[in-house]
Assembly symmetry: C2
Homo-oligomer: 275 residues x 2
């Protein structure tokens, strides 16, 4: 059997309190000796390379962000420091919003391409809450957009204020789903006991009205990884007879595992990783 050295945090980032137990990942650099360099490609790339077209730091951030969004980079604790100005520019300069808008368009195309089942009343969508429905960007701005390590107490204090703004593209999608008769389940790793009321109020004051159910993490799931907890919740939803036709989240752990739905949509989030 394969075992990972240094397993990740056992819970959602919003409820994880064993952050400092996490082990840092050792980066191993290996130099390759290439016996067979590609000939034709080499010539073309040389001809097209315009040194400095993309500044080195921005280029690294692009590679790093791609690795995060394609689910290649896992278990990372903080955004690399050299990415700070780039993650800030990405989150606040408009590109993050444009990325969200395009995904919302793609979700709408998907909705309109599928033929509803006869029993449409049981067609369900799963939406994550943090940085899917409502945004923690204001909070993470104070944490250097994820370059600082996760601060459970700080995050809890922020969430208790109930002041997370809606993410416009997802609020629009949410309203479209409700209006068209889909049953929307909001599933969050936030702890029910401590953050239940504040989160319920926050979602309401941002316009998330008309969902089928808002499901928090209860004591029984404490210590479980997000993907296991969310899989179990989805399994229960399906057991009630619902068909999960779509699943939207900013973390791969929202989207992978059992009963993950007919289609999953990954929203961008380069600021933190939830195992």
């Amino acid at each position: 059997m394969w075992r990972e050295r240094g397993s990740g945090c056992g819970g959602e980032r919003g409820s994880c309190d064993d952050d400092d137990e996490r082990k840092s990942t050792t980066t191993i650099t290996i130099f390759f000796l290439f016996k067979f360099p590609p000939k034709e490609t080499g010539v073309i790339i040389k001809a097209y390379t315009r040194g400095g077209m993309i500044p080195e730091g921005a280029s690294y951030f692009l590679s790093w962000r791609l690795a995060v969004e394609a689910n290649n980079a896992r278990g990372w604790r903080t955004v690399p420091s050299q990415c700070l100005s780039h993650v800030e520019a990405y989150m606040l300069g408009g590109q993050y919003d444009r990325d969200l808008d395009l995904i919302a368009d793609q979700i709408l195309s998907y909705i309109n391409e599928i033929v509803p089942s006869d029993d449409g009343a049981m067609d369900a969508w799963i939406l994550d809450v943090d940085d899917t429905c409502i945004s923690n960007l204001v909070y993470y701005r104070g944490k250097r957009f994820g370059c600082d390590p996760f601060d459970p107490a700080g995050f809890k204090a922020w969430a208790l204020k109930g002041g997370c703004p809606a993410i416009p593209a997802v609020l629009g999608l949410f309203k479209y789903l409700v209006r068209n008769g889909f049953k929307v389940f909001l599933i969050t790793g936030r702890d029910q006991e401590t953050l239940g009321q504040a989160t319920t109020d926050n979602l309401r004051n941002q316009g998330f009205i008309g969902y089928e159910r808002l499901i928090f993490k209860t004591a029984g799931f404490k210590g479980q990884r997000a993907s296991a907890y969310k899989s179990e919740i989805r399994r229960r939803v399906e057991k009630e007879g619902y068909r999960i036709v779509g699943n939207v989240g900013d973390q791969w752990s929202d989207l992978q595992g059992e009963c993950s739905g007919r289609r999953a949509f990954k929203l961008p989030n380069p600021m933190y990783f939830v195992p």
Copy 2:
């Protein structure tokens, strides 16, 4: 039951001959009315937006590429025309290579973080061939980097030449795997009868030597989607007693489905989509 209107091509891009049967996806644009615009975030974004910092077309290409690499965009037939100069700059200007290098580093970190099983001789890696081990970039340059529709005859003629250069990052990874005793299975959607010999020769002349097996698509799999065909091959590999500890490909259809391995790594490819 949900049914998709207009299912995709039934085979791998390299062997698909029903391209013109594919239906174009209707893009549905819906304008949202946001009742509850986010207040705090709105102010911040306004303050940080520097109009024109990222040219509009480049910004759209970034969003589109993110959607492709995060597996949100599916079933697309061609790269949007307005992306042509940007996909060219991405593929030839160095960013594509840097993206590949970072993923190769992450794969090496993964290899070095896991503890091999006692029976290490059965630890296997799956690698795709086209645009994973060897590159079709020279060919796709003549097809406007995927802005032109797929041309099965043209691709076959290109592949028959056996002149695809190795992708350096993956060749390095391949050699590292072989040197460290992993059993490497190369699984391709290329047709065995027509492209078997040329592909075998091509891989050898680019330095892919020492793999456990090179598996082509045979007549029995004709018309099957890549994910189904590759799942079945992986299932057979596992049935022989191998443990798939890693899986690398440039298409999500290389990585999803049954027996998909302990970890999957998605390499970038914004030029075409294989269902």
